[in-house]
């Protein structure tokens, strides 16, 4: 079974530029998550999708971050404009619907904002 795919794996940009990350979840997984992991910290949830609808985006900085999952499969997370403090690893995870199901994580995109 293929895992969660993410691209790019690494990205370096200057502050105020924009950047986009892509995630393709495990086939059949209805729930998709984006996390931000700052160096030395655990992952922090940014947004959760159930199919193509947003379930929780309470910790997404909506003035600069946006995410979509238009067809209920793959998803894009965008930052515009980026700030220095956005330097982090952005993790995508997916999960089958139903209680007791595990979240499976992708390899992440490491972003450095200069």
């Amino acid at each position: 079974e293929a895992g969660v795919a993410q691209s790019p794996r690494y990205k370096i940009i200057e502050k105020r530029q924009s950047v986009a990350f892509w995630c393709n979840p495990i086939s059949g997984h209805a729930t998709l998550y984006w996390y931000q992991q700052i160096l030395g910290q655990g992952p922090k949830l940014l947004i959760q999708f159930q199919n193509n609808g947003v379930v929780d985006d309470s910790q997404l900085p909506k003035d600069r971050f946006s995410a979509e999952r238009l067809k209920g499969v793959d998803s894009t997370l965008k930052i515009q404009p980026a700030k220095l403090e956005d330097s982090a690893v952005y993790l995508c995870a997916s999960r089958l619907q139903g209680a007791g199901e595990t979240q499976y994580f992708g390899p992440g995109t490491r972003l450095l904002v200069l």
């Binding site: 030395g40 655990g42 992952p43 949830l45 929780d56 992440g108």
Partner: protein, 113 residues
């Protein structure tokens, strides 16, 4: 706000030593508990999870964890570590009925041969 505390940020052990990593959470209701591991250069993967039933949970690679409700704890243990256990370990909590993980800051384990 719900939080997850991992007491040790860095742990260094010799092979064959016993391991215990602490994890405490602040939420008082029904919780689901997880330990994830991230080996160098790899992505997060599940070690073990607790949803209900026997509070002593066994996971992959000889790891186990014990849920102690009265102490709000879910400590990870392994009786004899190997060099290949060198990794970062994350405790995570999911409130019952919600499918949102809250992670601790992680514990970086280094095992010396």
């Amino acid at each position: 706000a719900q939080s997850v505390s991992q007491h040790n940020h860095h742990v260094i052990l010799s092979e064959a030593a016993s391991l215990e990593l602490g994890c405490n959470y602040s939420y008082g209701g029904t919780v689901n508990l997880f330990w994830y591991v991230q080996y160098p250069g790899q992505h997060l993967q599940l070690l073990l999870k607790y949803f209900s039933g026997d509070p002593l949970v066994k996971g992959i690679k000889g790891f186990e964890a014990e849920f102690i409700k009265s102490k709000f704890s879910f400590n990870l243990r392994k009786p004899s570590v190997q060099w290949s256990d060198t990794a970062e370990y994350f405790c995570a909590v999911n409130r019952g009925g919600y499918n949102k993980l809250i992670f601790g800051a992680g514990t970086r384990l280094a095992v010396h041969p």
